[in-house]
Symmetry: C2
Subunit: 271 residues, 2 copies
DNA sequence: TTTTTAGTTCCATTATTCGGAACTTAGTTT
DNA sequence: AAACTAAGTTCCGAATAATGGAACTAAAAA
């Protein structure tokens, strides 16, 4: 599955490229890291800028990800992610558990955190929702992988970096496969400081009717304050929460759109 | 500027179309509202799904905006919007003012709120930030329009709906033009219950070196608790904050990326 | 069973994208 | 100031990818 589909694929690739810099970039920065010939890349960037997916600062010549993305993501988060419907359940879980709670979904081969709660206060959400992490060495990642059909695993596993973050990171596909079987067997996943030293967690998948993987939730702690046994005691609550979220996600029929359409409509590009 | 550029433009149009439903949609829903022939739309949707920009629930056949958008938006918000650098200033302003504070940018012809503070507590990113509103009848919208070059105005004004939200909404381009001149003259914009009854605000633009419009901030109140005179007293603080944000936005050189690239890389699509 | 509706595939035609190379700035260096 | 360099932009014939009418399949309704 090496190659991307068509012009659209290439354009989206450029978006990822811009994102990967984590800072505004000049055209030549992009050119350097891209396989496309100058003229081609230039045209792609132009198009994306026109479309508001990139923004271009005429003073500095820098490109950044465009603001249209933020708008689209707002909608994506509302209709496409589990977060809005999982919210009350997450709140309750965070209260009851008194530990940090994560809600994640798969974004391709990576884990994407779509919501997060700190024991009590809902702070810092800005910087957290939307963050991505590795799948092979996080609790939520492994919990989701464990329930994927073989066909999908075959696509996702080769994309894992198996980078050794800590001494306990699983660094081969074989080790991970063994772990995934164990997880599926016992019904939940551990993170034994595999991603960050001192950080442990217990995670369960959120499964749809056909056991399709919808997402995962976890409770996280630090080895200083707690241990796996303690976190494990929260499992019933975790599993209960996961079940409820799954129910909401599948039961729920969306309310009829209130169509605040005064604005909407096909708005076209400025220069 | 009726038409969009190329295949990429069409694909992004489809994303907007999906977003406009505010709920998961079936293919036929999209077909109904789109000008594209069935096969063409189908291919576009396929491509976007492949790319993770749309997600497709095989159980229900529904499409939603994909999770890849959330990831991209996270990056967009960090590097592309004023929000992260404006943050401490907004906090300070909200504290000092004791009123709700908005930070907005232009997304095409609309206003996009990229951050918000209620007197004290911060709000979650994707449920509030990412929201769009009309430009012609909000304080931040008018503040930004007032400083745009004529060429841009000519593109954006025809896209305004001029929908009468309240008795005091300006409902014609001519009225708005007059108002914009007044705003530019006095240096800030009022919202005299033009968008929502009982909601008033005072807004100032955030201007770059060449007076380029970077964004706008406002303090908002309700007619029950306050009045325009009172809000106006906060103007020095507002203007000061805007200036600081502008400075940060232009001065700031981004820190060298910590390149947590174990993950990144061109990750390709699952089935 | 037949009919209708929703979703998917085919493929010759057509329109877009591609990219090498030349050109234009703007910023350095001698 | 002329010569050089690097970054960004435009051109245009060749190559490729998108198009969409129509036919097909699957599933639901009559």
């Amino acid at each position: 599955m090496a190659s991307s589909d068509g012009t659209v694929g290439k354009a989206l690739e450029v978006l990822d490229l811009v994102a990967s810099f984590h800072r505004p970039v000049r055209f030549s920065d992009l050119l350097e890291r891209s396989d496309h010939p100058k003229a081609t890349l230039y045209r792609l960037v132009q198009t994306l800028t026109n479309q508001g997916m990139l923004s271009h600062d005429p003073d500095t010549g820098n490109y950044s990800l465009g603001i249209r993305l933020v708008r689209l993501a707002h909608a994506a988060w509302h209709t496409g992610s589990l977060a809005p419907r999982a919210r009350p359940h997450l709140d309750a879980l965070a209260q009851a558990a008194g530990e940090t709670v994560h809600l994640a979904q798969l974004d391709n081969a990576q884990v994407l955190y779509v919501d997060k709660r700190y024991g009590r206060d809902a702070v810092e959400m800005y910087s957290q929702a939307g963050k991505v992490g590795p799948a092979f060495c996080t609790g939520v990642g492994k919990a989701m992988l464990a329930w994927l059909p073989e066909s999908q695993l075959q696509q996702l596993l080769p994309q894992q970096s198996f980078h050794r973050f800590t001494p306990s990171t699983l660094t081969s596909e074989a080790d991970l496969r063994t772990e995934l079987l164990a997880i599926r067997d016992r019904g939940f996943a551990y993170d034994r400081e595999e991603h960050e030293p001192g950080i442990i967690c217990v995670a369960v998948p959120i499964l749809g009717p056909t056991d399709r993987v919808l997402g995962a939730i976890s409770v996280t702690g630090s080895t200083g304050r707690t241990d796996l046994k303690t976190l494990e005691a929260l499992l019933p609550k975790l599993q209960n929460t996961a079940k409820r979220i799954a129910e909401e996600a599948t039961t729920w029929t969306f309310p009829v759109p209130h169509e605040s359409l005064e604005q909407r409509e096909e708005v076209k590009c400025p220069v």
